[in-house]
Symmetry: C2
Subunit: 158 residues, 2 copies
């Protein structure tokens, strides 16, 4: 991946899209979030959601998969161009995970990533701390998911 | 569930245990977090984790399932005792999700919940805001997962 110095703050970019089918929503929920409005259309119709909708953890997990697949494509493209690929460090965690709107069965969510802050690390010489905001937006243009993630990113030169 | 007035701050309680098998770790990761150290023992041995370990999203999803199952047991017990069951409102979100240590294949994680703050809601008369900390602790007594969750909880009388 890129070095700290090559990060462009505000450069938002699509990482992928996903359509949440009723079958997939129920399959995830039956394993990890067995609440009626994630499992059954009729129960969902009687709930405050009104329709079958995905577990928020399902949305988060799909975003993660698209991020990993995007990263693999980015690395492959950089290698194909003969560019050095910086090895990113672990993520110290994240904050501000928000499920802003329900993700209903049949919704197509477009996930995007945007660097919102980049600074040299105080604790790790040679490294920077990059903060990214990942969002998911439905086919009506409504943001349904948002999360702030930090990662250690190497500096090109110190 | 209980009313705001019946919440006991600091009353930590186990909600369930789960053993993460290698098979299950790979199955979740292949769908939602396809990184080598979640998919393959040999690749994991070469990574900074050293051994096959679960996606952090997998840990979060298992915690969610145990919370839902615990809630169903709690409601059934209250109904069996003839107690009124308060309908909790939606969660405004959460913060401070932390994956503090890897969850390795074969680890048994004990999940617990603890009310850490309860206060009347400023915006919703008749409701309070309850903040819970959920944690996961491995068989060595190490906390591997921590998350702060808020929920709207009805007040018994206003």
């Amino acid at each position: 991946m890129t070095y700290l110095e090559d990060i462009r703050i505000g450069a938002r970019r699509e990482i992928g899209r996903h359509t949440f089918t009723a079958e997939e929503i129920k399959s995830f929920a039956s394993r990890y979030d067995p609440q009626p409005f994630h499992l059954d259309e009729e129960a969902a119709a009687r709930s405050h959601f009104g329709r079958l909708c995905a577990s928020g953890w399902h949305t988060a997990a799909v975003c993660m998969r698209l991020l990993i697949e995007d990263r693999k494509r980015q690395v492959a493209a950089m290698q194909a161009r003969g560019e050095p690929v910086a090895a990113w460090g672990p993520s110290p965690g994240f904050r501000d995970l928000k499920w802003l709107k329900p993700v209903y069965a049949g919704d197509t969510i477009t996930f995007e990533t945007e660097p919102v802050e980049a600074r040299p690390s105080q604790s790790r010489p040679g490294w920077g701390v990059l903060t990214l905001r990942h969002t998911g937006t439905n086919q009506h243009g409504e943001i349904v998911y948002s999360i702030l993630v930090s990662a250690f990113v190497p500096r090109r030169s110190v």
